[in-house]
């Protein structure tokens, strides 16, 4: 019944909370402490080994004397890229939490690092998908240039007609000899204008139900027939792109997973998107949207009213509580107990960004009616410091991008609360016969 019980319960009632229980539970508590001590020792030994390996590598490739690209390539080849990558593909097959020791040694030596922001989709979504679902040959071909940043990746999933209902997508891939010929339109593609490769989901069989007819590819964005156009959003800037595909030839060698298994592979990609969101770093009080609002309040005593004060106190409290909830989620993940609370975080994050920036515009009064610039920009990458109006407008997207809040509520209701699904008519009908 209670969520407390949904976490792994201990084997027996526990100590310290009432005398009768103490005798019964002292044993298991001691056992747990022993196990924990052993695990700690193992981790420390692993870390020692790793640090030694890094120091040896650094001795061979002194950062000061090695060009950045060469250094990164060598690092990858030495298994010192991301240590949780497989051996032979940039890693050592170690757990993720071994990485900080590696980074620490490199930082002390002043070594160059990869630019995560520049290839966030490649590192966050493409690499895990490739590691999980691609062949050894494909891993060898793609992972190194992906990790070093020589090749940026993007994601070609959404289409104008397939947003929330991604599985209904219409981009067609038709087999032709050793190639597939792909035609269609993708949308909301971050980084497409920088990317060399894209994770492409396309329909290879329109005669089966929608989830069954999809296949997953790695698309070369420099191939003939690929056109990338900026997609301007209501802030004026163009963070995203539309990608038009006209008779693009994709070698079958670039297919990831079996023909018809595209939905399964795509889910591996999307799951990594969620993990990436969930495992983000600790955040300080007032670090997010509430900080802008609080700073404005402190800076402008002359604008204060009781209405705005009450609204601010409420929003500040909600924001601080949501920060604590995110921290709690982080602790759950760190403890190996990932909970479903991440979906709540995204819902509330969107809502708070919208409410707080709306408050900011109201608080700014006449200043809130002014914007900096409507001119179209590329690579603005959402500079939230642009002011309250920008934040107000940009935050409208927070409840749409990466899964709308409506879809998120469906997911919470069905996967967390286990409420029954709505009656559905689209699961067993051939894709080509669906109403649209």
């Amino acid at each position: 019944m209670s969520p407390a019980r949904s976490c792994t319960p201990p084997a027996a009632p526990s100590a310290r909370c009432g005398r009768p229980a103490i005798a019964a539970t002292m044993g298991p508590v001691l056992d747990e402490e022993n196990e924990a001590a052993q695990a700690r020792d193992k981790v420390l030994a692993q870390e020692r080994d790793l640090r030694e390996r890094v120091r040896a590598f650094l001795a061979e490739h002194p950062p000061a004397q090695t060009p950045r690209e060469d250094f990164l390539a060598a690092r990858f080849d030495a298994g010192l890229g991301y240590v949780h990558y497989p051996v032979g593909h940039g890693g050592l097959g170690l757990p993720r939490n071994a990485q900080p020791a590696l980074e620490d040694e490199l930082a002390k030596a002043g070594a160059p690092d990869i630019d995560v922001r520049l290839n966030v989709i490649g590192l966050g979504m493409a690499a895990p998908t490739i590691i999980a679902c691609a062949s050894e040959e494909q891993k060898a071909r793609w992972l190194r240039s992906l990790w070093t940043g020589a090749e940026i990746w993007c994601q070609l999933f959404s289409e104008p007609g397939a947003g929330s209902d991604l599985a209904s997508l219409a981009t067609r891939a038709v087999r032709d000899g050793d190639d597939w010929v792909v035609t269609g339109q993708k949308v909301w593609t971050s980084l497409a204008h920088h990317a060399r490769r894209g994770l492409l989901l396309a329909r290879t069989d329109p005669d089966v139900p929608k989830h069954a007819g999809l296949t997953y590819f790695a698309l070369d964005l420099h191939a003939p027939g690929v056109e990338v156009r900026p997609l301007r959003q209501l802030t004026g800037e163009a963070e995203f792109n539309e990608v038009f595909l006209s008779q693009v030839r994709v070698p079958d060698a670039d297919r990831i997973g079996a023909v018809g298994d595209g939905w399964k592979v795509a889910n591996a990609t999307l799951m990594n998107e969620r993990v990436a969101i969930g495992s983000s770093r600790a955040v300080a009080r007032e670090e997010g949207a509430a900080g802008f609002a609080a700073a404005a309040w402190r800076q402008h005593p002359e604008r204060r009213t009781q209405d705005l004060h009450q609204r601010l106190l409420k929003l500040w409290a909600q924001a601080e509580v949501s920060r604590l909830a995110a921290e709690r989620l982080r602790q759950q993940l760190a403890a190996g107990q990932p909970g479903p609370e991440g979906s709540a975080s995204k819902l509330i994050f969107a809502l708070l960004n919208q409410e707080l920036s709306g408050w900011e515009v109201d608080f700014a009064g006449t200043d809130g009616l002014r914007y900096d610039d409507w001119a179209m920009r590329r690579d603005a990458s959402s500079d939230y410091a642009r002011g309250p109006v920008f934040r107000y407008l940009r935050s409208r997207g927070n409840s749409i991008e990466g899964g709308t809040s409506e879809i998120l509520r469906n997911i919470i209701a069905e996967r967390v609360l286990r409420l029954p699904a709505e009656p559905r008519a689209d699961k067993d009908i051939p894709w080509k016969d669906l109403p649209r």
Binding site: P160, S168, R232, L234, D362, Y371, R396, E406
Partner: protein
């Protein structure tokens, strides 16, 4: 069934329905605006240097007679009332017409009307007052026939109850000014709505006593700098006055009353405009809900979407009553007008912002793009909710008006 018992205690409410005249006016406006002010045209204009559609405004002003709605027939106007003024505003809001109706036909016209009236009323009738009344009357005539567009030079967030603005002062006179009946003004007013396309500015200036002055917008010493505005379809500008000539149209209490009349009328008209905008956002979203399919269903068949749109519709029915009440109070000079403005401006602002936000959200990705008009509604709605001050400020005004005093 117990009508007879208690109805006598309840003061009769004014007519809150749309009259046939208003419906006809609305119909005529919809026809014209559908032709000349479609979403694509409105969007395209936001990227042109001239943010206002002056040609459309001339057509509305002269062909439909929008500019002179409030102006008495003897001054060449339509002699209509706040009711018609408000229903027309609904249609302009629904189409996001980039015309200075709010600033000129509502705020400036109501200000000039009050100035003309106060200057000529018994007791106010000294010679300077008669001269001022003449200037105001002349302005009203030119407003009515559409040859002139005016704006009151107050910052966008001004509220009727605010104290008289102190942004502009009288500066030293030049030789011959007194004979010519002019004074000089100096000062700066930021973020003025509808001043960009205005030919004439009505400028409140601090002094002893305070006064309200007419300034030719293109005259010497007047600078208008366009502002990159949140509301792309009602571009603000910063106005600075650098010793340019001005003629008084009201002074002292009359000036304050005229300015208040303008802002009250502006708030009522803006509330109606927001109502029209809210309804249009709902209509667009409902239409999209019938058209867009996901999961092999119209998205408008999903119950969560239906319930949100039903709630939005209910919110709009409420806002409509508030807007109609304010328009009726304005039309009849009802002393409850201050309460009515507070209710209408807060209810319609909230309805419009909610409707525009839901419109963006329930359109999904496309609603977040530049190419879809949803953002233009969002920007207008949010900016309008701050214009003539926020819903919170209007509700705060109720504390004094209906005896709900703030904590000591």
């Amino acid at each position: 069934m117990s009508n007879a018992v208690s109805a006598s205690k309840v003061p009769p409410a004014p007519d809150l329905l749309y009259s046939d005249t208003e419906l006809a006016l609305a119909g005529a406006l919809d026809d014209l605006l559908s032709q000349r002010c479609g979403p694509a045209a409105v969007l395209a204009r936001t990227e042109q240097p001239e943010a206002y559609d002056v040609a459309l405004w001339k057509a509305l002003a002269t062909e439909i007679g929008l500019a002179g709605l409030l102006i008495p027939e003897e001054l060449g106007g339509a002699g209509a009332s706040g009711r018609e003024l408000a229903s027309a505003a609904e249609r302009l809001g629904a189409h996001l017409a980039p015309v200075p109706y709010l600033g000129s036909a509502a705020v400036a016209t109501a200000t000039a009307l009050a100035a003309a009236k106060s200057a000529t009323r018994p007791g106010g009738g000294h010679s300077a007052g008669q001269q001022a009344a003449g200037i105001a009357a002349d302005l009203l005539r030119r407003l009515a026939d559409g040859t002139v567009t005016a704006a009151v030079a107050v910052t966008a967030s001004a509220m009727p109850a605010d104290k008289f603005p102190a942004a502009v002062q009288l500066s030293g006179p030049q030789p011959g000014d007194a004979a010519a009946g002019i004074v000089r003004l100096r000062g700066r007013i930021d973020s003025v709505p509808d001043a960009l396309p205005a030919d004439v500015l009505l400028v409140p200036a601090e002094g002893v006593p305070n006064g309200l002055y007419l300034v030719e917008a293109t005259g010497p010493g007047v600078h208008r700098v366009p502002v990159t505005s949140l509301d792309m379809t009602r571009q603000l500008c910063d106005v600075s006055l650098d010793g340019g000539p001005a003629r008084q149209i009201a002074v002292g209490a009359s000036a304050a009353a005229a300015l208040e009349a303008g802002l009250v009328t502006g708030a009522v008209v803006l509330a109606a405009e927001q109502l029209g905008l809210a309804q249009r956002c709902l209509d667009m979203t409902v239409a999209y809900g019938k058209e867009r399919h996901q999961f092999a269903r119209q998205v408008g068949s999903f119950q969560a979407v239906k319930h949100r749109l039903a709630d939005l519709w209910a919110t709009i029915t409420q806002a409509r009553a508030a807007s109609r009440y304010a328009a009726a109070c304005l039309a009849s000079g009802d002393p409850d007008i201050a309460v009515a403005v507070a209710l209408a401006k807060s209810a319609c602002s909230d309805a419009a912002v909610t409707a525009a936000q839901e419109c963006v959200q329930l359109h999904g990705g496309i609603g977040f793009t530049w190419e879809h008009p949803a953002h233009l509604y969002l920007k207008r709605a949010k900016a309008s909710s701050v214009t003539f001050d926020t819903p919170g400020a209007h509700r705060a005004a109720l504390a004094g008006l209906v005896n709900l005093p703030a904590p000591a």
